[in-house]
């Protein structure tokens, strides 16, 4: 009986030490790029929060819309006030799963990520691929995916319809470190 208990304890501890790993970044990078005949528009965000639970491969990403920095302040103003309405919807959120997370080993491996993305109060399914680097001290995840502006209920006025692409490219680069606290 005693030996079983010890064995049980041992087993419990081993699963805990495997399971408790959360990796996190508070300064992840995300950007979007819109290319149209009239002009190219780019915005960068260096304050992305992303958390990976290594026991399940779940990933949760939060992005502040107001943290997107544009080259021109007028673009930033229009983006926040007219398009994504960041006073009403201050965050974009992604909740999902890195598929087959347990079996990832080695560098620059391509992984599939599936989940739900919420922008401008509208939630859509998202399936994309990214490159992952997993070591004991860090998990980096990078990739890009297209976003159709109309899918998220963002209306572009006809005056500037030639300046803003219908589909914009979102790029992300997240360097997670072990979360300790």
């Amino acid at each position: 009986m005693k030996s079983i208990n010890i064995l049980l304890c041992f087993f419990l501890f081993s699963t805990i030490s495997f399971g408790q790993g959360k990796f996190l970044t508070k300064q992840g990078y995300a950007s979007f790029f819109s290319s149209s005949p009239a002009e190219d528009i780019e915005a960068n965000n260096n304050q992305v929060l992303s958390i990976i639970d290594t026991s399940t491969g779940t990933i949760a990403i939060s992005i502040l819309m107001k943290s997107f920095m544009f080259e021109k302040s007028l673009m930033q103003e229009h983006f926040n006030e007219n398009y994504v309405e960041s006073d009403k919807y201050p965050k974009a959120i992604f909740k999902g799963q890195i598929l087959d997370f347990k079996n990832i080993a080695g560098n620059e491996q391509v992984v599939s990520i599936v989940g739900d993305i919420t922008i401008h109060g509208v939630t859509k399914k998202l399936e994309t691929q990214g490159k992952i680097n997993k070591t004991e001290g860090s998990i980096t995840l990078a990739g890009d995916f297209p976003v159709k502006v109309a899918d998220f209920g963002i209306k572009i006025p006809s005056v500037v319809v030639n300046n803003i692409a219908e589909t914009i490219k979102v790029t992300f680069e997240l360097d997670h470190k072990p979360y300790k606290k």
Partner: protein, 142 residues
Amino acid sequence: MTRKTRIIVIISMLIIALIGTFIYTAVYNKPHIDVSETAPNISIESSVLLDDFLNDETQANSKYLDQIIEISGAISEITTNKDGNGIITLSNENSIGSVICHLSPEENKKINSLKKEQKITIKGICTGYLMDVILVKCVLVY
């Protein structure tokens, strides 16, 4: 129409077009707000700012977002992001969360002289709250 009035009309049309283009480019190229040159809208302790967000995020958003805020607090962490820009974290020992200040590139040289636990005053633009309150384009005030 006499020749004279025609000339006047053409010249005034040209002037109007010129002014129009001028205003358009001025608005289109309007510069970003210069935090170091602008007086803060709000001066506050970092712990008070954090508490306001913890208590009622929606209300804090309407109060602080896009505002130039001058905050004072103790440094708990000094790091840099992937582009080498300084990031200063202000927090108390017993608080959940912190205020993360992302510095303007011009301020990078100054972080070498900073130490942990040092009291500091920083001015920046508040963009919201995730696990921490985030300020961007920060400059050191002392």
